[in-house]
Amino acid sequence: MTWKRWSYMDHWITRTPQGPRQPSFNRKHTERYLRQLEALEFTGFDTFSFALPVYAGLYGSVGAFERVLQDHGFAGLTGVFSAYPYATDFAAPHRRETHDRIVADFERTAAAVEGSAVENVIVMPTNTYFHVEPVTDETIKVTAELWNRVGALLAQRGLALGCHFEFWGAIRTEEELALFFEHTDPDLVGFFCDTAQHTIAGVDPLALFRRYRERCRGFHFKDTHNVDDFEAYRTPPDAELMATGVPRWFYEMGTPGGLVDFPALMREILDSGFDGWLTVEHDKADLGGGDFAESTAVAKWYIDNVLASARAGAAR
């Protein structure tokens, strides 16, 4: 099996004369970045909503940037990620008074990608856990109300909403996930499976995919070496970078000690008939002296040499 729809999540950091920077530092670095992804045969490109004006500024418009992507063999922009890590007076999904403001943000995001190849708008549905706690059924239901609204708005514009849960977010356990999905419309609010985040939270991403297959909009394929069994998810001000004893949570596929069973997940995906994008994500690959280009190449080697041998019908 050779899966054709691999996309890349836009986390890359590169060396510049001014130190490590995002490639959108300038066109030269963006070109080098895209060539490296092209060489590794990625054909989808996911980025952040806050990066859209950056790329538009660099190339004249989002459409012009997408044409650059297409010149490098991509189908185009394929996904946009938005998040509100902190609860503020302006954005707190568990507080109804902020919902209008958040919906307006997604009106702008949808307008920014109109006419592009974007299929998925991926969101972090909650703020960080310590800003929401106590997490209750009520906070989850109010959060579900918001994403039903956003999902409806996006559906009218031909976009799918995928909810991407973090191990440090305010919906993280199987029970919380189930309550959230129970109160959201499956046609409007999708599931976006981040393999590492769920694993860290102690939830099996393969089991989640089996359970929410019908509403799964995509994946972030990344690995971890640690399960959070010491309430690191409550670490203020940030659990991803400041947890005691775990300076780095995320790794590319194919490292020793990786906890995610990617071959099993791949077989499950093939069995399911899922035909969306599979997205490689390297979040903070530079920690501890890592390198995004190398991490991406190692992941691609894993795709070509391990996942490519997965066969449908062998999942169970």
Partner: protein, 276 residues
């Protein structure tokens, strides 16, 4: 006059996810201390990874402003000399609005945002906030209004004074106020303090003026002072040595490196030249 040297910590911010863990902070404080600096300059930011750049995050990390000072002291640092802040930079904590000092409708939000920092600086015993005068000319387009900029900086200076903090205005090479037309616009403003107007000359003319700095920099009544873009000569030094020295009339002085100065890498090396 007793002078001390301060070092700006923005150098350690090499990427969006770097310089977040407390052990990284500690190494930076010790490095600064070992190099003979007695104070540090903070810089404002946004989000969970700018945890020395947001007052609420700094308090979360260190318990309180006093806790932060204690940690600095343990590493051999006596004080926080200053904090740099760009009012036009969007911050999630403030609704991600693209504010402009040239737009009077934004001034209330700018002053409210400043209050958060001024409270922290007061708690830290820090005497100076370094404020970027305007957004880059490329973002501002034709909307530059020197009188409006002067007005909000003057109000900011007054608000700062209430907290025992002084405002130093940072004008960099991307600023529209670095153009001769900006200087004209400023001088025609009935509200602009004369010292703020004098921040507008082109770099070449400022190079001349630095030779007799006292005539070019006078402190306005509000406590606003001027921070200059470095001359090409000093910028070259900064590039070579990664730091640039500044002069100060009293207290501590900040030295900033151009490494890690902004996400775009576009912010030039600059330093504060407080008035005396």
């Amino acid at each position: 006059m007793t002078a001390g040297w301060s070092y700006a910590l923005n150098q350690w911010r090499q990427s969006p996810t770097s310089f977040v863990r407390l052990e990284e902070h500690e190494r930076a404080f010790k490095t600064v201390s070992a190099a003979g600096f007695r104070a540090v300059e903070l810089w404002a930011g946004t989000g969970r990874w700018s945890n020395l750049g947001r007052p609420e995050h700094l308090r979360l990390n260190y318990g309180s402003a006093a806790g932060f000072l204690d940690r600095l002291a343990e590493c051999g640092i006596d004080a926080v000399s200053s904090l740099t802040w760009d009012p036009s930079a969007p911050a999630a904590e403030e609704g991600f609005e693209l504010r402009s000092t040239s737009r009077p409708a934004d001034h209330g939000a700018i002053l409210r945002a400043a209050e958060t920092y001024l409270e922290l600086l007061s708690e830290l015993g820090c005497e100076r906030i370094v404020v970027r005068a305007t957004e880059p000319a490329g973002r501002l387009g034709s909307g530059f209004d020197a009188a409006a900029v002067a007005s909000v900086l003057d109000r900011l200076g007054a608000a700062a004074q209430d907290h025992g903090v002084r405002v130093a205005v940072d004008i960099d090479c991307l600023s529209p106020s670095a153009r001769p037309t900006a200087s004209r616009g400023c001088s025609s403003s009935p509200t602009a303090p004369s010292s703020t107007c004098r921040s507008a000359p082109r770099i070449s003319s400022w190079r001349a003026s630095t030779r007799s700095r006292s005539s070019a920099t006078t402190r306005p009544a509000s406590g606003t002072s001027i921070s200059r873009t470095p001359t090409s000569r000093t910028r070259k030094r900064a590039t070579c040595f990664r730091v640039r020295k500044s002069t100060s009339c009293r207290g501590t002085r900040a030295v900033r490196s151009n490494a890690g100065s902004s996400s775009s890498g576009a912010t030039p090396v600059s330093s504060t030249l407080p008035l005396c």
